[in-house]
């Protein structure tokens, strides 16, 4: 069974440009999460989808970040325009359920560098 996949693995862009990150969850997992780890700091929650709906987007830093999950399958996270402080590793995770069923399986992450 394929795990969570993310694309690209690395992205280097200039300040002011736009970048779109993609996450493909494990098939059948309704729950999809985005996290971010800024260098040396803790991994921070960004948002949570249940199918195509945003269940919780309290961690989204500002309106330059837009997440979508069309059809409840893969998800994209767009940063527009990118700023220097957006650099970090963006992780996606998926789970079958929440609570006791909520083991989250993580993707390898996308390392974003904004110059």
């Amino acid at each position: 069974e394929a795990g969570v996949t993310q694309f690209p693995s690395h992205s280097v862009i200039e300040k002011g440009q736009t970048v779109t990150l993609r996450c493909d969850p494990i098939s059948g997992h309704d729950n999809l999460y985005w996290y971010r780890r800024v260098m040396g700091k803790e991994i921070k929650f960004l948002l949570h989808f249940v199918k195509e709906s945003k269940q919780d987007e309290s961690g989204m830093p500002n309106n330059r970040f837009l997440a979508e999950r069309t059809g409840g399958t893969y998800s994209t996270l767009k940063v527009q325009p990118a700023e220097l402080e957006d650099s970090g590793v963006y992780f996606c995770a998926s789970s079958l359920g929440t609570g006791r069923l909520g083991e989250q399986f993580f993707g390898p992450g996308t390392r974003l560098t904004v110059l």
């Binding site: 795990g3 969570v4 729950n31 999460y33 996290y35 040396g40 700091k41 803790e42 991994i43 921070k44 929650f45 949570h48 269940q55 919780d56 309290s58 961690g59 992780f91 995770a93 929440t98 609570g99 006791r100 909520g102 083991e103 989250q104 399986f105 993580f106 993707g107 390898p108 992450g109």
Partner: protein, 112 residues
């Protein structure tokens, strides 16, 4: 807000020895879940062990075990008979239902 603290940015252990990684958390909830995730270099995070707060018994997975002290809000990870493949970043995490709160991580080095 729930916070998770890992006070050891780096730890090292001799191969075959035992090491304990510390984690404390802050919550006002009584029912929640705690996890230890491992991220080897250039590889994705994998779940090492999980503890449900309502269970008093400490979770164990082969060489990995936890010391869960609910009153003290402490959740340490013990790795016995350390192996070279245990070298990784270890993240402690807390969740109630949805979003997971992570600590800053502990980088474990295993010396041959």
């Amino acid at each position: 807000a729930q916070t998770v603290t890992q006070s050891q940015p780096e730890m090292s252990v001799q191969e075959a020895e035992t090491v304990t990684l510390s984690c404390t958390y802050d919550t006002s909830e009584s029912d929640y879940y705690l996890f230890w995730y491992k991220q080897p270099p250039s590889r994705q995070m994998i779940l090492v062990i999980r503890q449900e707060a309502y269970k008093q018994q400490n979770a164990t997975e082969n060489r990995f075990s936890v010391n869960f002290q609910k009153a003290a809000k402490s959740f340490s990870l013990k790795i016995s008979d350390s192996q070279l493949g245990d070298a990784a970043m270890y993240f402690c995490a807390y969740t109630r239902l949805n979003d997971m709160r992570f600590g800053a991580g502990t980088r474990l080095t295993v010396k041959p």
